[in-house]
């Protein structure tokens, strides 16, 4: 392994970490502003022009706040849990291509930390490990609401893993590769080749599941303010709570990237226009997360489970079967 490769990888990792930590911060700003506008409010206005420095103020507050470890918590696990959430969110980013490859000073940069051939499987697996953040944090907190939240998060994440997995299976069968770059290149011919058109059911299912995976509003029962306070985050303060937060928002961005790459053609043919389109698609998905939060009510946990196991999973299975049969017929016909 040569030195250049190591340096390149480290630089990429640092850039991704910095960019997405900052984006997570600005994500909260956008969320507040957009929610406010949708509710005829102004949102943050006082810190900096149009409240833009609110993010910095929040950062200062989170960093300087006392880190309280309550009395009866299981200390090591309580301290570790937020790190799991944030770390797994960023680890998942390793296999996501954020930009088509480009050349700087005669050196070709692949803006992906590691193009492993099981890319999407890795992303999904690492995001699934993120479950341990809320689960362990909630169980170690010595707080009833946190415990309920931990139980809910385990149930929700495990259930919706099934949906994401099955929904992904159909497109993967068509593409025949797990690497996100291959999936992107499969659709590079243009908008008509997007997998969203050939796999609309899988797209919708994956999108619905993404809400559960990131714990966003219609499925926000993991930290549902009006019934279980802040769920697993109730006992956390200062930067530990901030890590949960960064993890959650980074996850939203990453899952938006994944959806845009798999279903909406990603960065297309790799031109600058394609790359900007990718950013637009990601921005749309992120905006949609905020939009639904302003518009839709939360569902009950039992309704969520019902939806998962009795509606979405059968549809996902049917979708996989239909896709398989169609592919079989096509290949037979081709032979």
């Amino acid at each position: 392994m040569d030195l250049a490769f190591i340096i390149e990888t480290v630089v990429k990792i640092v850039v991704i970490l910095l960019v997405f930590s900052a984006l997570a911060g600005f994500g909260t700003y956008f969320e507040r502003k957009i929610l406010a506008f949708m509710q005829r409010r102004l949102g943050p206005m006082h810190v900096g022009p149009y409240g833009l420095l609110q993010v910095a103020a929040d950062g200062i507050k989170l960093f300087t706040k006392e880190d309280i470890i309550p009395q009866n918590v299981v200390k090591p696990i309580f301290k570790l849990a937020p790190v799991i959430t944030a770390a797994t969110a960023f680890m998942a980013a390793a296999a996501i291509p954020f930009w088509p490859e480009f050349t700087v000073l005669g050196y070709t940069v692949h803006p992906i930390v590691s193009d492993i051939n099981v890319g999407i499987l890795y992303v999904m697996a690492v995001m699934a490990i993120g479950l341990y953040g809320p689960l362990l944090g909630g169980m170690a907190s010595a707080n009833k609401f946190s415990l309920i939240s931990a139980a809910r998060s385990a149930a929700v994440f495990i259930s919706y893993e099934v949906i994401t997995g099955l929904a992904l299976l159909a497109p993967l069968m068509m593409v025949g590769s797990l690497s996100l770059i291959d999936i992107n290149n499969y659709q590079s011919a243009g908008i008509t080749h997007w997998i969203a058109w050939s796999q609309p059911v899988a797209f919708i299912l994956f999108w619905i599941a993404a809400f559960a995976e990131t714990g966003r509003t219609p499925f926000h029962l993991v930290a549902n303010d009006h019934e279980i306070i802040d769920g697993f985050g109730t006992e956390y303060s200062g930067m530990r709570w901030g890590l949960f937060f960064i993890g959650e928002y980074a996850n939203m961005f990453f899952i938006s990237f994944v959806m845009a790459l798999i279903f909406l053609g990603g960065y297309g043919d790799g031109s600058i226009a394609g790359a900007l389109q990718l950013l637009l698609k990601v921005a749309f998905f992120f905006f949609f997360f905020l939009w639904t939060r302003a518009a839709w009510p939360d569902v009950r946990p039992d309704q969520l489970m019902w939806l998962c196991w009795k509606v979405l999973m059968p549809i996902a299975v049917l979708n996989v079967i239909v896709t398989g049969v169609v592919i079989l017929i096509q290949t037979q016909g081709g032979m």
Partner: protein
């Protein structure tokens, strides 16, 4: 509208109350499934999305940026008290009758009077413990001279638990009065318009 239809809370022809049309609640699993499909596909969710999007595009913002902007308060709003002066002479209006002290529900007015050199009653001290005052307005209501009134200063946060307002804080400063800045109080206990025409002489002779 007459209130009668609203006082009868039973749902009937006469009353204004009626049952909201909720429809049948599904009993079977299949029924529930159909309801979910119907609700998801009927577009209710998208109506919600459209409503918030419409508000965002219209950008009809209702925020009042409080320390910079303030909402007007009603004329009868009962905020921190003021002691007024007579317009012509600049004397204090308070005659030290003690009615306000007496009527105060939370016992938070404290005053001291003495007979001055001209044999007039003079108010030497007058303070209201705003930590205890419930801003009921009785003192202003009862005052025969329209001397104690409620002003419009409602930002009375303080580091002190019992924050006193002493006479000097409440009394209209003299230069303020001569500049014509003292506001007559239209709220609690104020004279109603056209009071002069309504006043009749007390019949003394029988």
């Amino acid at each position: 509208m007459h209130v009668d239809p609203f006082t009868d809370r039973n749902v009937s022809e006469q009353s204004a109350y009626y049952y909201v049309d909720m429809g049948e609640y599904p009993q079977t699993g299949w029924g529930k499934f159909k309801q979910v499909v119907k609700r998801s596909l009927k577009g209710e969710l998208f109506v919600g999305l459209w409503v918030v999007m419409r508000e965002m595009i219209k950008f009809d913002i209702h925020t009042v940026q409080y320390p910079k902007e303030k909402l007007p308060i009603g004329p009868r709003y009962r905020a921190v008290h003021k002691l007024l002066r007579l317009w012509e002479s600049g004397f204090e209006r308070c005659i030290g009758c003690g009615l306000c002290e007496k009527i105060c529900i939370s016992d938070c007015i404290r005053m001291d009077t003495r007979i001055d050199e001209e044999s007039r009653k003079e108010v030497t001290e007058y303070s209201i413990n705003l930590g205890r005052c419930i801003f009921c307005g009785y003192c202003a209501e009862v005052c025969p001279e329209l001397a104690i009134v409620h002003g419009d200063r409602y930002e009375n946060a303080s580091e002190q638990r019992a924050h006193f307002v002493i006479k000097d804080d409440m009394l209209t400063p003299l230069d303020f009065l001569t500049a014509g800045q003292q506001k007559e109080y239209p709220g609690f206990g104020a004279i109603t318009p056209h009071e002069d025409e309504r006043v009749t002489k007390t019949p003394l002779a029988y």
